[in-house]
Amino acid sequence: MAKKVTVVEEILSENDRAALTNRAQLNDAGLFGLNLMASPGAGKTSVIMATIQALGDKLRIGYIDGDLASSIDVDKVAELGVPAVQINTGGLCHLDAFMMQGALPQLSLSELDLLVVENVGNLVCPSGFRLGIHRNVLIASVPEGDDKPYKYPAMYLGVDVMLLNKMDVIEAFDFDMEYFKRGVEILNPGLAFFPVSCKTGEGLDNWLAWVRSEVAAFKEGIVAVYEPR
């Protein structure tokens, strides 16, 4: 005789629990973290390197990179004198909380102020897997086009701050800023938004000021609350 058993559980609840553990580990170490997500080539590594170059003498920064294969990004960032850990996902399209559990012990967490995690370049999958990192950052870029909020709404829904990179080439693209911003605003009202260019440095000051204020707020004990689904 068949019997129905009510479950009602989030399919990714195991990952969410691991993310909570990661968050607690970072909080205990007094370490504030950013999870950078973007499509491939939007400029994640460029933003990270510009951030390290500008803030490296004010904050102790650590770096974790997720890529399908290679250590190209880790090698670049390590050259700036920052402790860097590579996660190769072996074909998987995103980082998850369990991969973070493997990577975090490779850094001296309590000796850092800011952890920057570079997720796998992908606008779909990383949005579904929480890492337990304090803030989710989306780096959009002008050449991707102004319709990305409409095509990848889940990514735009789940982030705490957004950069729009490659502003230096906006004249060459038919990028309708109002259309782009309208979509973002409906999905994620009041989202902090910084148009930047890593090439020219335009707008980076605003982003850097945001990072410093978030780290300072965290240090003062205004710990970002972990949101359950």
Binding site: M1, A2, K3, K4, V5, T6, V7, V8, E9, E10, I11, L12, S13, E14, N15, G91, L92, C93, H94, D96, V124, C125, G128, F129, D147, Y150, K151, P153, A154, L157, R182, G183, E185, I186, L187
Partner: protein, 111 residues
């Protein structure tokens, strides 16, 4: 390509709730369209990883939930057309996403 870990999670949750059942015959999933999960792909992995467990051969049932907005100005409920999110009835941008992000294992059927 993330259906494998998702399918593993589905199996783990189902087994945890099966109690002393001999077989799991059906698994009911509620998946919003914004979850970016492909049912066929989950089924493909399911057939492989459920082998040898009490859930082997169980039917996976996907209840798909459309992405739906609600307009705060005219109370219209609508599915976005993929090009804009404004209300198609009154043009307002005071709209909220009300469904489409579901990603749950709702129930299992056991013998």
């Amino acid at each position: 390509m993330h259906e494998l870990p998702i399918t593993q999670n589905i199996l783990q949750i189902a087994l945890r709730h099966a109690g002393d059942a001999k077989r799991i015959t059906r698994i009911n999933l509620v998946i919003g369209d914004l979850s970016a999960v492909i049912g066929d792909s989950v089924q493909f992995y399911w057939d492989i990883i459920s082998k040898g467990t009490i859930a082997e051969g169980a039917t996976l049932h996907f209840e798909r939930i459309r992405a739906c907005f609600h307009c705060n100005d005219c109370e219209n409920a609508f599915e976005p057309d993929g090009r804009k999110f404004e209300c198609p009835q009154c043009g307002s941008d005071q709209v909220n996403l009300v469904s489409g992000r579901e990603f749950q294992l709702e129930s299992i059927e056991v013998e």
